[in-house]
């Protein structure tokens, strides 16, 4: 066994490759959180009065709330008054199209492998690039516009489509929902807005790529996706951040509305800076994501691959209001070194004949702690509800932890709810078998982990699936023990 430790020590884990940061001129709010800052942010974004009022209402609500501490994660308290709530790259004028965007900003995304140049793109993916607090560019807006699809930054949607924002903002995640949702509602920066009209199938993947650059700022994205009756959209979210010694807070809100016979697929590959090997620094990823299957026969699927952030706290959920609606949650959450995750989902069955499916694959390595927390709730009038949940944990080494907190709350006798859970280790026998066939240990681990996570990875759109596989292997480098 001592030889194993030797090999472990010799293996170096790959540096977080997105840890670089760039210096560019920024427009920043002074540190602190009060009504003046909120007014400052709102005026910077040239928002209408009604939205400022909404923000202030959220702020006052938040002030009455107490910071929650029930999750199975431990972190030093964040000094919310020490953060800056707005930071944007200074641009000479508001760019009207890609050609007018500061090339230095485009270069940042190129470096991340995201091409904002419409000619250069290989796949049909429209990108909204969000840097710190603002969206810097959105591609393919015109192409999509011809189909009646709105895909733009949230700030732009407030100006161009206020009636849609007014109708749906806060309808799935009300400002009173929880502490961080209230905070987000008060100070949200930017995010994406997407509206798919009746009967339209969005022809390309829509994606937002969030990149944090500035230090000592909090990131509060707000994303709203509305899929009208019989429409379809597949949306991807990617995120990275620079390596810093201090922790940074990322408290986003994502709301999804699906009309009758509509389908929304929301995929996330999260690679926020996880903190260094000693657990210093890293992003706190506290996110509220919720979708409402409002119409009959609607469907919302959440797929997430969480590999980064120091602390992950999120429960993408589905409210199954429409009859015959379907909610799905597929997740691979990896924690290594000192990362902590408390993540899972909530499936609330309200309508009749609703179905939900939960597949959660946790992978813990190093000294990390990985918790699955899920709730399946079947309301009194939700006849014939069906749920299948599978929570698996894979432990790598003997200093990490995996925990499961399933809550099942059934109030209708016709419900069928299945729950399976497994805990496993990567067997030395399996590694040796691979070795004996000429496969090096690191590659064997990657092979086995990918096999373990396959059911979830198969849900991702192809381009993301390849990236996710690579990311899994990278995150787990040097973790076999």
């Amino acid at each position: 066994m001592s030889k194993d430790n030797q090999i472990l020590e010799e293996l170096t884990s790959k540096e977080y490759e997105h840890g670089w940061s760039v210096n560019y001129e920024t427009d920043e709010a002074p540190a602190g959180l009060n009504e003046d800052i909120i007014k400052w942010i709102s005026s910077k974004k040239e928002e209408p009065e009604w939205l400022l009022e909404w923000r202030l209402k959220a702020f006052r609500t938040w002030q009455q709330m107490i910071e929650p501490e029930w999750a199975n994660v431990h972190y030093p308290k964040i000094d919310l008054q020490a953060l800056k709530y707005y930071s944007a790259p200074k641009q000479a004028k508001k760019p009207k199209n890609l050609n007018e965007v500061d090339p230095e900003l485009i270069a940042i995304y190129e470096r991340l492998g995201i091409s904002l140049n419409e000619q250069k793109r290989l796949q049909g993916i429209a990108v909204d690039a969000v840097l710190d607090s603002v969206s810097v560019a959105t591609t393919f807006k015109d192409t999509l516009g011809k189909l009646g699809i709105v895909f733009c930054s949230f700030s732009e949607a407030v100006k161009e489509h206020p009636e849609l924002i007014k109708k749906y903002l806060g309808s799935v995640v009300p400002m009173t929902d929880n502490y961080y949702a209230a905070l987000n509602s008060a100070v949200f920066s930017d995010g994406s807005f997407c509206y798919i009209p009746k009967g339209v199938r969005c022809p390309m993947e829509l994606s937002t790529y969030f990149r944090i650059n500035a230090a000592n700022t909090g990131q509060f994205e707000r994303t709203l996706i509305v899929a009208d009756d019989s429409s379809y959209v597949s949306y991807l979210e990617g995120c990275t951040a620079p390596q810093r010694d201090e922790n940074q807070l990322h408290a986003a809100v994502v709301e999804i509305y699906a009309g009758a016979h509509a389908e929304v697929k929301y995929s996330t590959v999260q690679n926020w800076f996880p903190g260094d090997k000693e657990g210093k620094g890293g992003i706190y990823n506290f996110v509220t994501k919720r979708g409402i299957c409002a119409g009959d026969h609607s469907k919302i699927s959440w797929t997430q691959v969480e590999t980064g952030s120091a602390v992950t706290w999120k429960y993408p959920s589905c409210i199954l209001k429409g009859d015959y609606s379907i909610g799905e949650f597929y997740s691979v959450a990896v924690t290594n070194n000192y990362q902590q995750a408390d993540t899972g989902t909530k499936m609330i069955h309200i309508g009749k004949n609703t179905k939900s499916r939960i597949v959660s694959k946790g992978i813990s390595a190093g000294k990390s702690q990985n918790s699955y927390r899920g709730q399946v709730q079947v309301m009194k009038r939700a006849d014939n509800a069906r749920n299948f949940s599978q929570c698996d944990s894979l432990l790598m080494g003997d200093r990490c932890g995996a925990h499961t907190f399933p809550y099942i709350d059934i109030n209708n006798p016709s419900a069928k709810v299945e729950h399976e859970a497994t805990t496993s280790k990567i067997g030395e026998d399996q590694i040796f078998y691979c070795n004996q066939r000429g496969i090096a240990t690191e590659d064997a681990v990657a092979l086995i982990v990918n096999g373990y996570a396959k059911e979830v990875l198969n849900q991702l759109p192809m381009e993301f699936a390849v990236e996710a596989q690579k990311l899994l292997a990278l995150t787990l480098e040097g973790s076999v023990g």
């Binding site: 067997g427 691979c434 066939r437």
Partner: protein, 254 residues
């Protein structure tokens, strides 16, 4: 090809191999037989590089190189193949995917280009026929839910794909019915050449009817106590191991 000199190995402080000496030349088939607990599987594991076993003395030279200094994956890449007695399952990883990864790593080690999908699949088709193995079995997760016979056939299929120089079959016949035994042995025989060598570890003479050995060695209490030709195997089949045990034990007390 393989030269084992005075090999001593222990596990958790217990010495299992107590001075093994063995010479294997290219083109030869050597059978290792012996009663339970004699160290047969230990020998196979030590040659493959299993870390639980500690080599306390001796050396093993494979094609002029020090085998014991190499990591297990390097021994494999140099051409050593172990057909496991109890092949392990790897859920979510298909046999096809597994083999492609292995083959390309071996090729990279040998300075060859990786095989593209088309060439790989045609190589697979060729070898599948050799071991009468079905495509459907190979698309499933590696060994998951396979019967004993299917697992052993899969081992030989992998052997066919990786084309090793030295193959060590660890009780490949255990758990096989007559037909499976015939198929597996056929496969092994077809893969034999004057450039490869095979070490067959087994309890029973039956396998050796199909895979005919050039030499038979009896392992008892961690040492090779008797060597002979295939006739020795027939003698063991008739008389059992007791006569050898008595011979060895009485010689020790003299």
């Amino acid at each position: 090809m393989l030269s084992i000199k005075n090999l001593h190995a222990s596990i958790e402080g217990n010495e299992i191999l107590r001075g093994i000496n063995l010479e294997v030349k290219a083109g030869e088939v050597h059978a290792i037989m012996g009663p339970n607990g004699s160290g047969k599987s230990t020998l196979a594991s030590v040659l493959a590089g299993r870390e639980e076993y500690e080599v306390t003395e001796g050396e093993v030279i494979f094609q002029g190189k020090e085998l014991l200094e190499m990591a297990p994956e390097d021994r494999a890449r140099e051409g050593v193949f172990l057909a496991f007695q109890y092949p392990v399952e790897i859920p979510g990883v298909s046999s096809t995917n597994f083999l492609r990864t292995a083959l390309n790593q071996v090729r990279e080690y040998r300075g060859l280009e990786p095989l593209d999908a088309v060439k790989f699949l045609s190589l697979m088709k060729e070898k599948m026929a050799l071991v009468e193995i079905d495509q459907k079995l190979l698309s499933r997760s590696l060994n998951e839910g396979f019967s004993g016979g299917e697992k052993k056939r899969n081992e030989i299929f992998q052997m066919a794909m990786l084309e090793p120089t030295l193959s060590i079959l660890d009780e490949t016949d255990s758990g096989l019915d007559i037909d499976a035994l015939r198929i597996v042995s056929n496969g092994v025989n077809k893969l034999k050449s004057d450039k490869t060598a095979t070490i067959v570890v087994t309890h029973y003479q039956r396998l050796l009817d199909y895979i005919v050995p050039d030499y038979v060695h009896v392992l008892y209490k961690g040492r090779i106590v008797k060597s002979g030709t295939k006739e020795l195997a027939l003698e063991l089949e008739e008389k059992g191991y007791d006569w050898i045990k008595e011979e060895v034990d009485s010689a020790a007390t003299v």
